[in-house]
């Protein structure tokens, strides 16, 4: 059993008890424990179930690389899934539950899957669920969704009560990793006086060295670390942060750090997580290395752990995993675990070393001297046990797994060698070298990530650079610090003394990718590579047999390394297995791409302060507050919020819209049109410029007049429309769509700056300078006359004219334009007068039952008149000719944007779908976007189509559904009936092709 030892545990405070619960059961641990160490101290080895086979799983590692021990933390609003028990610091009242099991962790129904493991091989989902097609939606998918997944997603209705923040830092040298290499690199860089930031993901400094031992400058490693931190703390140019992970390295020296401020103390004030947005001249990655598992049968049974983790739990937390530990290794480092256990008074029945030593290296000799039995050339055939390790079957590594001996034990400490943590080096393009001697990838310094100046900006240090020996790591860290500070423009301190470290030399390791090397299928299908996603040696070999040669494809097919741990333990083993199966060298097969973040970071940290109301700034018209107060139902339009309609008490939105249309058409309506884009185009060449921008002729427009214009891209497609008013000889005001203002202004500037740079034109986006209010309906003129101050009679202000003046004492510009077919004026007043003018209209207009209306009423009225809407009738593939707008395309102009493109063969194709009106036979409203079907099927066996709906509404004036659509040969097929398919893919709706002008086709209402 796993238990707390009487002594040792350098990180825990035995005088402080900490109470917590796991699956509702009460436990106690000590201050300084992780959730994993506290559970182990209470003999809670089983911590979760695996993803696919629901195998019982215990902790494997002691740090960020842990694949198994994922738990749900907290409950209700603080619930968080997939927290690694190994990096969760214990606090009073912590509540954790295990994941992916039903009904209980100890007894799980889904574990039946492992009985069928033979039938759930790599690519199972692809192979099994592809046929029959309808089964996917109704049977397979619900089943998979129910049984797959690890932690529970937080309830969509809960809101995270914690706060998060972003923090910007600008430094010369960023050192990631606070082990001895990181400390030394920071010391070297810090002594130059440059601005240095050192971040460490755990809560303590020094990394693995205090556990692994060794002396630095004649001091214990721990003492040296304490002194180094003290030295850094007094440097005013150096900032240190623990619990701060280097999450990702991005272009041009941009690095994200993820600081967990109160995860270990939830009651503390302040933000929970902080995202550091760091811009640095140089990065030193001193990110250490991760031990690799060995691939033998049963290597996932709880009690099988990384050798380094076994000794971490003893030294750091005073926790033993078992009383009898068998160590299995291909290198010297794992002997440290055997020696540590022995020193702690625990039993090590044997060390299985796949190597045969002619001369025992120091650690091997020390183990033998300590009386530990070392079996050379041996490995594990299989682990005996179910929910816990009971023993191991020993075999010769060179053989096929014939057992030579069974050793009873309750813990297996395995070591397949070490892999440098190259993630941060690789994020921004750093390349790797395959190191044959140590069987790992390490950074290739000659192909470092490069910055904006094309020069390297990342250096790697210590173990992360492949230097496993303590002294090598320290020397390398000093030189990395020196390289970084010099590249950052600093000068190394003259005569800096580099500390010297002493530690035992280690013999070469022997790569082992399968144990024993001749293991048959029965053993291989229990030899796990990826614990979290349940990928085994047999799966990767099957993928290779099925023709997967690329490591990226194999990864996706088998899901190797695709779990939340991103394959920190499995990548190299999986890759080696694949390259063996393909008969290629490992460096030829290569690695998958390393992508940020290094370990998952919270969505809260990514969002920072940008949540709720400040998630995205909302643009508000000067009348927005009035809309809110008067019950507007809003809809987003670009960054604006516009009233969709103004429902009265108890009124549905639909009823409100119908009322708004009727009241406006019968009496008087009021629309806040302030969001419409308004761009001033001014200068001697303004007319010439607008002739290029619009399809129509704008230069001939007389001051005081308005003209509706179409704007096309150089590709010929319709991109925007609006009314242009000529203010004076040199000045035009161009109205754009609400969503188009910024884009169209940019479009104009693009052409003015890049192509016609010598034309004398100035543009300004004055959208927000004005409140623009549409006064619409038969009583529109009555209202303006009642307000008084401007002659708005038919003769004084004719259709498509504008004039400046005053209305009720407010400076106003009145445009007589109409998007509804009614008598209509759009009144622009300075933004600061917007609310006052609106209030006056409402007040004085009351006698005509003035009705404020929203965007939906606007849409229906324009559709009743057959007016197009950018974004409804257009989608980036529609040209004005498709919409019957040929009248707005000048034939006199030599050129305009889109002219030449509209002459291309596809644009002049007579079979292009064209705009028509559509009236359903049963008066229903056609589904938006519905397609009109045609006889026959296309090459993909889909129904042929001959048109689609672009706008569709219920018209309160006609009391029926009306629609516009693009239809093959539409304008020539007036009166013909075609059929549209409903969303269900079965029901057809008959509709008659008609003119798109449904209401007041003669325009009598506006011509008054």
């Amino acid at each position: 059993m796993s238990t707390r030892l009487a002594t040792s545990g350098r990180l825990i405070d035995r005088s402080k008890q900490v109470a917590f619960t796991f699956n509702g059961k009460r436990f106690t641990g000590h201050a300084g424990d992780t959730l994993a160490s506290a559970l182990l101290a209470n003999d809670q080895m089983l911590m979760g179930r695996s993803f696919k086979y629901h195998r019982p799983r215990g902790v494997v590692a002691s740090g960020a690389e842990e694949p198994n021990a994922l738990v749900n933390l907290g409950e209700g609003v603080t619930h968080e899934p997939n927290a690694r028990a190994t990096t969760t610091e214990l606090f009073e009242g912590l509540k954790a539950t295990s994941q992916n099991h039903w009904p209980s962790l100890e007894f799980d129904v889904g574990a039946i899957n492992q009985k069928f493991a033979r039938f759930l091989p790599a690519g199972f989902y692809y192979k099994m669920f592809i046929h029959p097609r309808p089964f996917w939606k109704h049977i397979y998918e619900p089943f998979i969704r129910h049984s797959a997944g690890l932690g529970k997603a937080p309830d969509a209705e809960t809101r995270d009560p914690d706060t998060y923040e972003h923090f910007y830092a600008h430094v010369d040298v960023l050192v990631v990793g606070g082990g001895v290499a990181g400390l030394q690199a920071a010391l070297t860089a810090g002594q130059s006086g440059l601005k240095v930031l050192l971040i460490e993901q755990t809560a303590f400094w020094g990394g693995r060295t205090p556990v692994d031992g060794g002396e630095i400058d004649g001091k214990s490693a721990e003492d040296w670390i304490t002194e180094a931190v003290a030295a850094l703390e007094v440097m005013p140019n150096v900032t240190l942060r623990t619990r701060c992970m280097g999450s990702g390295v991005y272009d041009h020296g941009y690095v994200l750090g993820y600081e967990r401020l109160t995860d270990h103390a939830p009651e503390a004030d302040g933000p929970r997580h902080r995202l550091w947005r760091i811009r640095t001249k140089q990065v030193v990655t001193a990110t250490g290395a991760i031990e690799r598992p060995l691939s033998f049968s049963g290597n996932d049974i709880p009690g099988v752990m990384l050798a380094s983790a076994v000794r971490d739990y003893v030294v750091d937390y005073g926790v033993s995993i078992g009383d009898r530990t068998v160590v299995v290794t291909n290198n010297d480092d794992a002997y440290r675990t055997a020696l540590t256990l022995k020193k702690a008074g625990l039993s090590v029945p044997a060390i299985l070393d796949v190597r045969v030593h002619v001369h025992a290296p120091p650690l091997v000799a020390e183990a033998k001297a300590a009386g530990i039995r070392v079996l050379e050339g041996m490995g594990i055939a299989k682990v005996v046990g179910g929910q816990r390790v009971k023993g191991v079957a020993v075999c010769s590594q060179a053989g096929e797994g014939a057992m030579v001996e069974e050793i009873a034990c309750d813990c297996v400490a395995m070591s397949g060698g070490w892999s440098p943590v190259v993630h941060l080096w690789s994020h921004c393009g750093g390349k790797l070298l395959w190191d044959e001697e140590h069987a790992f990838f390490r950074p290739d310094a000659s192909r470092a990530p490069t910055g904006a100046d094309g020069l390297p900006f990342v250096t790697t240090a210590g173990t992360a650079n492949g230097h496993l020996h303590l002294n090598d790591a320290l020397q390398d860290a000093h030189s990395a610090g020196k390289i970084a500070l010099e590249r950052a423009g600093g000068k190394a301190e003259a005569g800096a003394v580099v500390p010297q470290a002493q530690g035992p030399d280690e013999a070469a390791m022997t790569p082992v990718w399968l144990m024993p090397q001749g293991a048959g299928y029965e053993l291989k299908m229990k030899a796990w590579l990826d614990y979290q996603n349940d990928v085994k040696v047999s799966d990767v070999q099957l993928a290779a047999r099925e023709g997967y040669e690329s490591v990226e494809h194999t990864k996706r097919y088998t899901t190797l390394g695709m779990a939340t741990d991103q394959g920190k333990l499995s990548n190299i083993n999986g890759l080696a297995t694949l390259s063996n199966a393909l008969g290629e060298a490992i460096p030829q097969v290569g690695t998958t791409t390393f992508r940020p973040p290094y370990t998952p970071i919270s969505m809260g940290a990514i969002a920072g302060e940008a949540r709720g109301e400040i998630f995205q700034p909302i643009r508000k018209t000067p009348i927005h507050a009035w809309h809110e107060k008067n019950g507007a139902a809003f809809e987003p339009v670009g960054h604006w919020r516009r009233p969709y309609c103004f429902p009265k008490d108890g009124e549905s939105k639909h009823d409100a819209v119908m009322r708004e249309v009727k009241n406006t058409r019968e009496s008087l309506g009021l629309l806040d049109a302030s969001t419409l884009g308004k761009i001033i185009v001014k200068g001697p060449d303004a007319g010439r410029f607008l002739d290029m921008m619009y399809t129509n002729m704008m230069s001939t427009l007389k001051p005081g007049k308005c003209r509706y214009g179409l704007m096309c891209s150089e590709n010929g497609f319709l991109m925007d429309d609006g009314v242009v008013a000529r203010i004076d000889e040199d000045t035009f005001l161009c109205h754009t769509t609400t969503g188009g203002a910024e884009h169209i202004h940019g479009h104009m500037e693009d052409w003015l700056q890049c192509e016609w740079w010598d034309w004398k034109v100035y543009t300004a986006n004055v959208t927000e300078e004005y409140a623009q209010i549409a006064v619409v309906g038969p009583h529109a003129r009555d209202l303006l006359e009642a307000l008084g101050g401007m002659d708005v009679s038919k003769d004084a202000l004719a259709f498509m004219e504008w004039k400046d003046g005053e209305l009720a004492g407010i400076p106003a510009r009145a445009y007589r334009i109409s998007f509804s077919g009614e008598l209509s004026y759009e009144i622009a007043v300075p933004a600061s007068f917007g609310q006052a003018f609106w209030d006056l209209c409402m007040q004085v207009g009351a006698q005509w039952n003035i009705t404020p209306y929203g965007t939906e009423c606007l849409h229906i009225m324009r559709a009743e008149k057959g007016f197009i809407m950018i974004g409804d009738e257009t989608d980036g593939t529609v040209i004005p000719q498709d919409l019957g707008l040929n009248w707005a395309i000048s034939k006199k102009k030599e050129d305009f944007l889109g002219k030449r493109a509209q002459e291309r063969s596809h644009m002049t194709d007579p079979t292009r779908w064209k705009l028509v009106g559509l009236l359903t036979e049963d008066k229903s409203v056609l589904p938006d976007g519905a397609y009109a079907i045609k006889d026959g099927r296309n090459a993909n066996n889909q129904r042929n189509t001959q048109g689609r709906v672009t706008s569709t509404y219920h018209s309160p004036m006609l009391e029926r559904g009306i629609a516009m659509g693009l239809v093959l040969d539409g304008p020539e097929r007036m009166g013909e009936i075609i059929h549209f398919m409903k969303d269900d893919g079965e029901t057809l709706v008959a509709a008659k092709i008609v003119s798109p002008v449904f209401y007041d086709p003669e325009g009598e209402k506006q011509n008054v």
Partner: protein, 88 residues
């Protein structure tokens, strides 16, 4: 996140910028007949250089368009200049 030097404002984060097309691609003289092929070349074809690439970018906060030469492989920024300037 990359940083680009706007010739008018100095070094800023890339999110302040928009790509605006390849540099040195003049609009054909549309007063003269242009073949479909030539027009398609102008509209749709770009060199999409691997390595040094000359591009027009706009700094959205000051709305100035400018020319940037950058390495599309290494993301190195080789230089920027205002449209009316000739690079040294």
């Amino acid at each position: 996140m990359q940083q680009f030097p706007c010739p008018f404002c100095g070094l800023r984060d890339e999110r302040e910028f928009h790509f605006a097309g390849e540099a040195g691609k003049p609009r054909p003289d549309t007063t003269q007949p242009i073949s479909d092929a030539d027009w398609a070349k102008y509209l749709f074809y770009c060199a999409n250089a691997k390595g040094a690439s000359h591009e027009v970018w706009v700094h959205t906060t000051c709305q100035e368009y400018f020319v940037m030469t950058r390495d599309t492989v290494t993301m190195a920024v080789l230089g920027t200049h205002a449209l009316h300037e000739v690079p040294a």
